[in-house]
Amino acid sequence: MSAPGKTEPTEAISRAKAGDAEAWGELYREYAPAIFRFCRRALPTREDAEDATMEVFMKVRDKLGQYDQSRSFTAWLYRVSANHCWDMLRRRKIRQDKETEDLDNVPLEHPDPSQLDRLIEQRTSEEVRKALDKLGARARMALVMRYYSDMSYDEIADALGVRRAFVGVVLLRARHELRHALEGTSALAAGRAS
């Protein structure tokens, strides 16, 4: 993926828009690894991620004519990917799985700052990735959109079909889910006295 600040391949995009297959190939080679990783984080299995990556690029190829070149191609690509992954999950009726529904109704416990700090310090990236796999679809999708592809709250709200004001709640619940997955539900629930 284009690193932050890296110039986007505008010439290749223009040529691809004009139907140049080679330019399209350049874009694919440039962006496929990042989009695959996005899908890998957002979807439950590796096979799903591979399918989704191919489908996203097919979709992008068809819709490239609609892309406004004055805006970021990377951001546009992530938006298409997020919409596609979320549609995939929704089609499988796991958008609101039981676990998430339950959690939505449970009031969030306030974490102990020191314990949370320690937990974060002790956990490795690999453990976090494993924990992510255990999350509900919406929680994982929200975290991936925000912390992998750096999408704005508006974009997340748009992709998930929720109000913007609710995005913070979704993200916070997702973090709690993640902590539960990392440590168990009660470890951090030491609630501070106010």
Binding site: A18, G19, D20, A21, E22, G25, Y28, R29, A32, P33, F36, R37, R40, R41, R46, E50, T53, M54, F57, M58, D62, L64, G65, Q66, L108, H110, P111, P113, S114, L116, D117, I120, E121, R123, S125, E126, V128, R129, L132, L143, V144, Y147, Y148, Y153, G168, V169, L171, L172, R175, L178, R192, S194
Partner: protein, 559 residues
């Protein structure tokens, strides 16, 4: 002391709080260690999440790495279909037209020489032209090579198989064009009236251009003539190839005679075969053709003798002389007079039954097949071929749009303005063939003329497609992607052809409509090409200083 809730801390970190609330949070964390710790923990959690997600612990699966290639391959069926159809078309063309012609030519005594090889590859046609490599030819070849190199440069760099194949063809074409420039010398004679005197012998091929030419002496080689009238009273040991108004062979030609012009008369002898494309051809009573006579002519008369077969595509044929082989003729009418002597079978396809004298000596009765003037729209094959050609042209357009998408869009866009493309189209439609003929007649421009006609024909094929795309745009609105444009082009093209096919049966004015479509499309393609290749002056470039008076290209003229 009230602590900040986790949601507020998160929104603060993510810069989602309004300015006033953010300042409150900031002030609070100055004094509250617990909230500061929570903020720090949340921030570290965010970083951990980002790091964990961004890490590349898995390589791109091979299936995805190959996907692009597979996607590319998935489009290759289009090429396969295109080339398959092209091959089928070429095969149909060969078996339907070229092969029967070839057989007829063979029967007519050309002994393995077919029309194509005669015109294009045969040494007799090219021989002698080699030394005419003028500066213009070299420039034309270099231009062709330059255009080819510019076109294929990027594709060659990428190693596109198609580009390599096309480049190969270009190299072959270049070699073919260059080959004639690699042999012996030819004597040139130009002027109002060129003569080879009776006691003169030219020991090489002779190229003549002029109003009139008379060969009374001997030419030990081939004669090439471009002019109005030529008489051969002497002896030519090679072939005579003539483009002119009239040619008379009174003397002796040991080789072949190929004539393109108005009328040819043979009262002398031609050792080998004779092929004429003209209005009137006559072998007079003392005339003799040793091989066969092939004529594409308005009228053919034979009072003399032809050693082998007669192959005629003529309006009228009048046979009074002797034919060593058979006759195969197609045309309006044929008369075989009492003095005729024909040693082979006679087959005639025509509108009128042949008139055959009872005294004529024939090896077998004349076979006659009447040509029916059946309206073509009553013929089922007409519609089948219309469909095949429509599909083939759509595929042609598809291939062109895939190869040159930008130029295709520009041509369609140019066609949407009517005045300029139609005006330019009229000029190109009539002007290019005339210019090409002039170039060919002046010989030095033959490669250029052939190239111009080729490009003109290519533009003619594109013209209907471009107009079809405009019609498609009218119906469905403008397409953005290549496939949308191709879809609109196909739809519009099919509609145009359906309407035209119907109208062409109703009124002859439909033909004018078709001409209009061709001119419109050709003009649009020409405009797009012009806009693509016209020199662009870089912005900000200083304009050249004004030239002093009396300045020409060569410099300042003396006052």
């Amino acid at each position: 002391m009230n602590h900040l809730d986790e949601m507020t801390c998160l929104l603060y970190l993510e810069r989602q709080l309004d300015r006033a609330r953010a300042q409150e949070v900031s002030a609070h964390t100055q004094d509250c260690a617990a909230c500061r710790t929570l903020l720090r923990a949340l921030e570290r959690e965010s970083r951990l999440l980002t790091r964990a997600m961004l890490e590349e612990e898995e390589a791109l699966p091979a299936r995805l790495a190959e996907f692009q290639e597979r996607a590319k391959r998935s489009l290759q069926w289009i090429w396969a279909v295109a080339f398959g159809l092209a091959a089928t078309g070429a095969y149909a063309l060969y078996t339907g037209y070229i092969e029967p012609w070839q057989q007829q030519l063979d029967q007519a005594g050309f002994g393995g020489t077919n029309l194509l090889s005669l015109l294009v590859f045969q040494g007799a046609f090219w021989k002698g032209w080699q030394s005419m490599a003028t500066l213009l030819e070299v420039i034309a070849l270099l231009t062709l090579a330059g255009v080819g190199a510019a076109f294929f440069r990027r594709r060659l760099r990428r190693g596109s198989a198609l580009a390599l194949v096309l480049a190969g063809f270009c190299v072959l074409l270049g070699v073919m064009l260059a080959l004639p420039t690699a042999a012996s010398a030819t004597e040139f004679r130009r002027g109002q009236s060129v003569t080879v005197a009776k006691d003169e012998t030219v020991k090489s091929d002779l190229f003549i251009s002029g109003t009139g030419a008379r060969i009374d002496g001997t030419v030990d080689g081939d004669v090439f003539f471009f002019g109005q009238r030529m008489e051969v009273n002497g002896h030519v040991t090679g072939d005579v190839i003539a483009f002119g108004q009239a040619v008379q062979i009174r003397g002796q030609v040991d080789g072949n005679v190929r004539f393109f012009g108005n009328n040819v008369t043979v009262s002398g002898s031609v050792g080998k075969n004779m092929m004429v494309f003209n209005d009137f051809a006559n072998v007079e009573s003392g005339g003799r053709v040793g091989g066969s006579l092939t004529a594409f002519a308005g009228s053919v008369g034979l009072d003399g003798r032809v050693g082998r077969d007669l192959l005629l595509f003529v309006g009228q044929a009048n046979i009074s002389g002797a034919v060593g082989g058979g006759i195969r003729a197609k045309g309006d009418s044929m008369t075989i007079n009492s003095t005729a002597e024909i040693n082979g079978p006679v087959h005639f396809e025509g509108h009128k039954a042949p008139v055959v004298s009872a005294q004529a000596k024939l090896a077998s009765p004349v076979e006659f097949k009447k040509l029916e003037r059946k309206p073509k729209y009553l013929n089922r094959d007409y519609y089948i071929w219309r469909v095949i050609w429509t599909a083939a042209l759509i595929l042609f357009g598809l291939v062109l749009l895939m190869l040159l998408p930008k130029l295709g869009r520009e041509a369609i866009s140019a066609a949407e303005q009517f005045g300029a493309p139609i005006g330019l189209g009229v000029l190109i439609f009539f002007g290019v063939p005339i210019a090409a003929i002039i170039a060919c007649i002046t010989v030095v421009g033959i490669p250029l003329g052939i190239l111009a006609v080729g490009i003109w024909f290519l533009m003619l094929c594109c013209a209907e497609l471009v107009v079809g795309a405009v019609v498609g745009n009218w119906i469905l609105g403008r397409g953005r992607s290549n496939w949308e444009i191709i879809g609109r082009m196909a739809l519009g093209f099919v509609l145009v052809r359906i309407v035209y096919t119907f109208l062409a049966q109703v009124h002859v004015l439909a033909l004018l409509g078709a001409l209009g479509i061709w001119m419109w499309g050709m003009g649009a393609v020409s405009l797009a090409l012009y806009r693509r290749f016209q020199p662009v002056i870089a912005p900000g470039m200083p304009s050249p200083p004004p030239l002093p008076p009396n300045t020409t290209v060569g410099g300042v003229q003396p006052a």
